[in-house]
Amino acid sequence: MPAETRCESGIKEMVEGIVAETGSARSDLIPILLRISTECSYISEEAIRQLSSCLRLPESEIFAVATFYHMLLTQAHGRHIVQFCESAPCHVAGGREIFQALKDLLGLKPGETSQDDRWTLFTTSCLGVCGIGPVVMVDTDIYGHVLPEQLPAILENYR
């Protein structure tokens, strides 16, 4: 079943499947949410509703947890997520220029999605690869020692 179908009409079966594999204890909640967020690109309201009845936890409780963690996305976003590290080590290594170039190139402010649904721009705290700052992450790929003039070529890899 393609991802769109699984995450929409098949969401009940999907959530039940993940719970069956991961477990239904309270301590399994974050691993379950991480899997839904990865497989469906975000955690929809319907997914929270299904999970609520599976785990016998209030929807509000699940929503509170899902919105606490940066890696759990609760809103639809573009096909590719561009993340820029705004922490001090990258800032000192030339991050200011990169961030400006990135915003100009994409025409987006942090948190926004492009009209063609291709990009969503996020800022992030440290990614732990400070040795190669400034760092830009596109989906799960990390680019280090980035120069402003390299950005167009990097973004070209993602359609």
Partner: protein, 545 residues
């Protein structure tokens, strides 16, 4: 000075010499000139590498990849792939089995890497991290075997006597913490490895988890035996995908051999280990927030007391140690407490891993004895400042101290730093030259806390936001002198009444800025200029105009 980014060592013992090490040396020099890399790569002879089966050997640092046996005709391919394109030539790697533990003796001289004292980074880049056999060849699990011959109380005595202190930032005596959990009442106890390393500029724990995962499992087993726990969790931040994969594999291998499970090494000690992935929240590195997160809740720090040592995970007594702290444990068991006192200072024995970042020639990890000074790290290990002189360094990520150049000769250990009103933190060293504006950097740091604050307690929720808006106003040329008193008040309030360590330390950069660089801040306000020309000094035009 030129920056050496790689170091090539060629074994030059009599056997290697017979097998052509001099021709290999010449071939490297020739090929490096061919790619115009002669100024970036230094080539030296090494005397005793201790692995004659694969000689002649070639070791390339900083990756510490060992190639062997190597013939002169292999050199062009290695230079092109490894040094020019940055790809390791897998088929030429020396078999890692049979390593004697001595890796390479690095002479301290110009153009080569200065000697480090590697205890926790001992195996990094030397062994195949996905092979438990490699770890065993390097005395892996020997510390556990020694511990199991002792009583749990004696193991704690050894750790206490070693003087090991927590490397997560606070410097709490590790042996004392173990003792607290040992004495806590309750049949069920837990060991947790805090691998939620999120301080900006810190990636030492990631390197240990990725490069030597078995050492952490071994240390957790020793800790579990000592405190009487049969279950443990490694909490790794979600962004560290490779570390998560490596630890998952390492746990499977340790289970297969029987280091995890029941009746470990023929004793009556049982231990199971779980991996828990974080999902992106800086505050979860705070130990009680980490517990909440493992329990499947929002990562909001708990009110203390009770402390985790008596009521931790699932309300059971819990030991929580940082990755680097644990990585010291097997070595202490193997070599004894007295040996550990041979490194570092009287009250802070051992080594510390620093991450060197910023405006220096060499960035990356370095493991050196406690008590070394910032000046030594910058001039010896970071090979000096890149362009302009040192203005300040920031230790320990966002929550650490700002050390002005005038304090760079303070020994870096827990107590000397505390006496000087500084904190060592997690060991990140963001080294900044005098082209950086202190106001600009502190604005970035206050933004970090504003974003990462969990929102549970009001002082932190309101204070971090207020510090950021005030700092932003100063960078826009709209600051008032009254802002400085307000910043002081906020940072003191944060320290005094916040619920957890995040809030308590959030004001440190602001306080240090006002203490050491007040004139520069006042120039922004009184004269309306940024002395380094970095701050915009005008308000950014709002989008709707």
């Amino acid at each position: 000075m030129s920056i050496i980014r790689s170091l090539v060592l060629i074994s030059h013992d009599p056997e290697s010499k017979l097998l052509g090490s001099e021709a290999i040396f010449a071939a490297f020099i020739e090929q490096l000139h061919h790619y115009d890399l002669q100024d970036e790569v230094s080539v030296s002879y090494a005397t005793d590498i201790g692995q004659s089966a694969a000689s002649p050997l070639v070791i390339i640092y900083p990756e510490a990849v060992i190639y062997g046996p190597i013939k002169p005709e292999d050199v062009p391919h290695i230079v092109e792939e490894h040094l020019y394109k940055g790809r390791i030539v897998e088929e030429k790697r020396a078999p890692t089995k049979g390593l004697s533990g001595k890796v390479a003796w690095l002479p301290v001289r110009k153009g080569s890497n200065p000697a480090e004292n590697r205890i926790v980074l001992r195996n990094i880049g030397v062994i195949d991290p996905e092979s438990i056999e490699d770890s065993l060849n390097q005395n892996g699990y020997e510390g556990l075997a020694i511990a199991l011959t002792m009583s749990p109380e004696d193991v704690i005595k050894v750790i206490s006597a070693s003087g090991l202190r927590g490397r997560g930032g606070a410097g709490f005596p590790t042996g004392m913490k173990w003792g607290f959990v040992r004495k806590a009442t309750g049949a069920k106890k837990y060991v947790i490895c805090n691998a939620d390393e999120s301080e900006p500029g810190t990636f030492k724990d990631r390197m240990i988890l990725e490069g030597d995962p078995q050492s952490i499992i071994e240390a957790m087993l020793i800790a579990g035996y000592a405190i009487g726990a049969s279950e443990g969790y490694i909490y790794i931040r979600g962004e560290y995908q490779l570390a998560i994969e490596r630890i998952t594999k390492a746990i499977q291998q340790a289970q297969k051999i029987g280091f995890l499970g029941e009746g470990i090494l023929g004793s009556s000690f049982n231990f199971t280990l779980h991996l828990h992935s974080g999902a992106g929240a800086y505050v979860c590195g705070e130990e009680t927030a980490l517990l909440e997160s493992i329990e499947g809740k929002r990562g909001e720090p708990r009110t203390r007391p009770p402390y985790p040592t008596t009521q931790g995970l699932f309300q059971k007594p819990t030991l929580i140690n940082n990755v680097e702290t644990l990585a010291n444990v097997p070595a202490i068991l193997r070599n004894g407490a007295a040996w550990y006192h041979g490194f570092g200072t009287e009250s802070s024995p051992g080594t510390k891993v620093y991450t060197m970042l910023g405006n220096v020639n060499v960035t990356g990890l370095v493991e050196v004895p406690m008590g070394i000074t910032l000046r030594e790290v910058v001039s010896i290990y970071a090979r000096g400042m890149k362009k302009a002189p040192l203005k300040f360094a920031q230790t320990g990520g966002s929550s650490g101290s700002i050390i002005p150049a005038s304090l760079q000769d303070t020994p870096m250990d827990f107590d000397s730093y505390r006496t000087a009103g500084l904190s060592l933190g997690s060991g990140a060293l963001l080294i900044c030259d005098d082209e950086n504006c202190i106001v600009d950097i502190v604005k970035v740091l206050t933004n970090f806390f504003r974003v990462e604050c969990c929102g549970k307690c009001a002082p932190c929720r309101v204070g971090t936001q207020r510090m950021y808006t005030t700092m932003t106003r100063i960078t826009e040329g709209k600051g008032k002198m009254g802002d400085l008193e307000e910043l002081e008040l906020i940072s003191d309030t944060l320290t005094n009444i916040s619920n957890c360590g995040l809030g308590e330390t959030a004001g440190t950069p602001v306080r240090d800025m006002l203490k050491h660089f007040r004139a520069e801040v006042e120039a922004h306000i009184k004269l309306g200029i940024c002395p380094t020309g970095i701050c915009p000094m005008v308000a950014e035009v709002p989008e709707f105009v």
